[in-house]
Symmetry: none
Subunit: 184 residues, 4 copies
DNA sequence: AATGAATGAGCGTTCATTCAT
DNA sequence: AATGAATGAACGCTCATTCAT
């Protein structure tokens, strides 16, 4: 019965989204499973129908967030015709999702350390996506892949962390200018 | 009775250092006040003689860590004779303390969000120190202060976060090369 | 429609048997209704079609187990021609079913305390069956019915409880010898 | 400071006694740590100051119960001058403590199966005490030690289990008469 | 009749904080 | 000032039970 399946998936999605929202707002440890259940408008027990544990839910959220970053990278690569366009598009996309995704990215980074294996899986996808972009535009980029990887990732992470200290929009310009200087 | 005063300060110091060590090792949520008391070789109740709450202790530790960053900046400024030397020295100093300080820096960042005011106090000191350096070497630095602030801070934070993904030492070189490109 | 009736009874039976098996294996508290449903190959909700609650299911299982004891007694009585033969046969039959029945018997004992009434119903059947045997062989048995009842039941219960502390088979011999001494 | 120690031990004792009482009344799984705390008039957390877990508390209670059985045996041995006196005294003592101890004995028996090691430790003490008595009065006892052990233990356990089915006092007489027949 | 997704009461346990000593 | 025994709110999680399909 496909209807049921959809409903099931809807609930799973609702829980992930609620968790994502709350983790972004308050960090991981400060969000209880009850909080997530309330936000998702499901019973406390329902979370455990879909996820074995809070930790597993966390991984599902992390996976979803990392995927969105990877998507940002891949789509930028698809739509761009040169390195400059690619960087520009990627920055635009990343900043569009910055508010929730960004915070989570680094929240997870810290937390997932304990279960390195999962984290490394997510990270590898992200790294692979960046690698593809690098390979395509290698000739235009005046940097090794390691540098390319560090510079872009560093700026994206920091953008979130320091978002509050800059006027809105200003930080994006700084990142764009910085990457242009670093990578051409 | 000055002796007592000294002793008092010693105990306070011991608690902060114990907390700093454990927070760096295991993150904030995974360290209980009992752990800190044990590490500091004081009674559990003693912590509350010196600090109103775990949160207040956290702030004291954070303050201590931020101060050390500020010290890194100021000393580099004092010892250097031009922008390049300054950046070089600052990177060296920051990386020397990276292992514990770095981890704490970003651990606090998330945690202190709830009490923005404290965080902003720490941050202002750091920003002021960087500002002084910027003013001194302004002419040699091809960037606005905002850029200067974002680039350096971004790289320092990310260095810790991504430390595990690079060979030891490699990340410092990348940072140095990056800052040279960005700031001259 | 008798076919449906049969099917219905089959499902009821399957649930009881599944519960019996699992209770014997793991005790009552360590078996969830989900476990029983899985073992019986029915849906979780189906259990509640046939039984009002886990407690009621428990009683149904208990009833089934007690019946089997009663059956052991009655069959032994039917097949025997004197007290000695009767005791011998009863012990044989009881030990044949000891592994699952025995464990359940005393598992239930504790649990059913809360609903004394049900327990007393089961027990009365068992007592009645023993009474019949006693009446038939009264003259050969050198004990009151109370003693007869206590001695036999005591040994049967304890046999299970202490099974692990004796070599297999040894306990049966001890019971036989004991009963002979006590009852002739 | 011995005063503190005494107080500490008092609280530990209070918790064990509360647990003992409730376990005897309602079995192990039906008693929550909150129930025990309430009964012992301590905070819920206090239990965990003295016992690592509910399981560990359970073992402490079991140990206390088994010890009291062992004490019953040993004291009877000390005070008696022949097998008959010994059996008589032991039965008296065991029945004196029957109400709580007896129920617990078999409640634990069931539960401790999972952590056999602990259980075997307790049981060995009990068995050893009985062995000593057996050795002293061997010549008067017309049974092997295995029989002696099974008969006495069986009757003690069953006495509790079946206590409700007999008039008060009656069961003790049956046990005495039974043991006399079995062991002389 | 049969199902299993959904639920929330209640579990065992932790830990920041208090307070009598 | 210094302590650690004592506490209970709050946690992650389980499971008997309900109910829409």
């Amino acid at each position: 019965m496909p209807g049921v399946q959809v409903k099931k998936e809807e609930k799973r999605r609702a829980i992930i989204e609620a968790a994502e929202k709350l983790f972004a707002e308050r960090g991981i440890e400060d969000v209880s499973t009850s909080d997530i259940a309330r936000e998702a408008r499901v019973g406390k027990g329902t979370i455990y129908v879909y996820f074995e544990s809070k930790e597993k839910l966390l991984k599902a959220v992390a996976s979803s967030v990392y995927s969105s970053f990877v998507k940002d990278v891949r789509e930028s690569l698809k739509d761009s015709r040169n390195a400059e366009e690619f960087l520009d598009m990627m920055v635009e996309r990343v900043f569009r999702n910055m508010k929730t995704r960004g915070k989570l990215l680094y929240t997870f980074h810290r937390h997932l350390k304990s279960s390195k294996k999962d984290y490394e899986g997510f990270q590898k996808d992200y790294r692979t996506a960046l690698k593809e972009a690098y390979e395509r535009y290698k000739e235009e980029i005046g940097a090794t892949f390691e540098e390319f990887y560090f510079f872009t990732t560093s700026f994206f992470m920091s953008s979130y962390i320091m978002a509050g200290e800059f006027e809105p929009g200003r930080i994006k310009e700084i990142v764009k200018a910085g990457l242009k200087k670093l990578l051409s």
